[in-house]
Amino acid sequence: MLLFTFVYEDDPQNGGYDKNNSIEIDENLFKRIGNDDMTALDHLYRITERTMYAFTLSLTKDHQKALDLMQDTYVKILTAAHLYKPMGKPLAWMFTIAKNLHYTNTKKEKRSLSLEPEKVFNAKRFSYVTDPDDRIVLEGVLSLLSQEEREIIMLYAVSGMKHKEIAESLGLKLSTTLSKYHRALKKLKNYLEGGGHRHE
């Protein structure tokens, strides 16, 4: 008798990074939110707040815009939760909403006239990051990495999700996710070794 066993190993090179805060979302929460159960929204918000912020920040690269996008995303969830069909990927749905809203906003912004090019990393908007090293790292992430690299490394650092879960939530292949993660890390290491100066 032949038996197939498939084992997915997460990246062993995470350096012992503590990832015990993995998100587990009960999909029934959306049904309850659809029935105007605000305690369900409280719960959903509580367990996803930091992850959604990390994700919206990786999209917008701006603290305030990230908060606005977060708010719009949760409001959209409130209006559509009753339509949600459980498919085993609740975070993927939330990320999709955030991303679609972001693209819609970006299109609107592009149509606006006289928008001066904005500095990529506005230190004032990240005043809550007091540690100089942390600030350099965040600046490196937001200024150096591509959007997908930002999404992957932010989610991996903040959400406690494994690479496989991140891949599923972002609709990417696991191999792509791993490759982009390591490429992003390499860029960051080079950047940090140069004292936070960009090496082209």
């Binding site: 918000y45 790292v137 650092a157 940090l192």
Partner: protein, 333 residues
């Protein structure tokens, strides 16, 4: 800075971010949607194959086991043909268990009627068939000819089965005080042979034997041979001097080639007229040759009669072409 520090640093930054928008979310004006729009549309593609992988693997494993079982137990592997006059086909699986028995002629149907073959192997069923053939007098001290043919795509297996069945048949019949003459032949399941076998209501193996006899002597006609038993076919071949060892193999071949009792030749009719070009010798004493006086005078032919082992063989041969025009076998009363 190593990976761990980078990740911790990022996490710390995000953890420290002032995010307090829950009340704003709850207070924001909103209206429930009737249907998903472009923003909230869910990806309705089927769940990732990777998610289904464990189930697919289990299903594949079960399918493999099932197919393996089917392959081992249910699917035909060997076709074993036993021809005496009854022609019987035993179909077996890869484990040599019998999964079907077919009768290829009327006598065969008598033998296999109500035979229970379930759970039995080819050797058990073969012995049972032999016993039934003895009970019905198809096999006896006077009738000991048997044609055994095995077809399997794997020629090595076919050869092994043929040899082991040959031994089993010998052992079994020896125990019943019979000295069988078991003829073994290679068999190819060609559609032409099958078609002819079906047409004449005989087994594929017997049709193969007849086809091979005709190859040895192209003047033989299928129609003349299909009604003969294996024993009759062998004796006819010997009578015609055909080299049977070219088409069959048998450890009993020596027994077959042992000269049969001198045919008792009897004169039916004197040769009154012979073909012009026949160099008739006055001393020629082959009075078994006979110019049959047919209605058509152009059809000069010789009739040969051979009496052997209680059988009378009549062969009509065209005087000019040597073609066998007719062949009959009757009990010699």
């Amino acid at each position: 800075m190593n990976e761990k520090k980078i990740l911790n640093s990022l996490r710390k930054s995000i953890d420290n971010a002032p995010i307090d928008i829950l009340d704003r979310i709850k207070e924001a004006p909103r209206e429930k949607m009737d249907a998903h729009d472009e923003i909230t549309r869910q990806d309705m593609r089927t769940p990732s194959f990777k998610k289904l992988m464990p189930y697919a693997s289990m299903a594949a494993a079960f399918l493999l086991v099932f197919l393996g079982w089917q392959y081992q137990v249910k699917l035909p592997d060997s076709h074993i043909y036993i021809d005496v006059n009854p022609s019987i086909e035993i179909v077996s699986n890869r484990r040599d268990k019998v999964i079907n028995i077919l009768a290829d002629n009327r006598d065969g149907k008598r033998i296999v009627k109500d035979m229970d073959y379930k759970g039995k192997n080819i050797y058990q069923v073969t012995e049972e068939i032999l016993d039934r053939m003895m009970d019905e007098n198809y096999l006896s001290k006077d009738h000991e000819f048997l044609l055994l043919s095995v077809y399997n795509k794997n020629q090595t297996k076919a050869e092994e089965q043929k040899n082991s069945l040959h031994k089993k048949i010998h052992d079994h019949l020896h125990a019943k005080e019979l000295q069988p003459i078991v003829l073994l032949q290679k068999i190819d399941n060609t559609s032409t042979i099958e078609e002819y076998a079906k047409k004449y209501g005989i087994s594929v193996s017997k049709m193969t034997f007849i086809r091979n006899l005709i190859i040895l002597n192209p003047d033989l006609q299928t129609e003349d041979l299909v009604d003969l038993s294996i024993e009759e076919l062998v004796k006819l071949s010997q009578g015609m001097g055909l080299e049977l060892d070219k088409i069959i193999e048998s450890k009993d071949l020596d027994k077959i080639q042992t000269p049969l009792p001198e045919p008792e030749v009897e004169r039916e009719q004197d040769i009154e007229e012979t073909p012009d070009d026949y160099d008739h010798d006055d001393d020629y004493d082959h009075d078994e040759f006979e110019d049959d006086d047919h209605e058509d005078d152009d059809d000069d032919e010789y009739e040969i009669e051979i009496i052997s082992n209680g059988k009378e063989y009549e062969i009509e041969i065209h005087a000019y072409t040597g073609k066998v025009l007719d062949f009959e076998v009757e009990d010699d009363d």
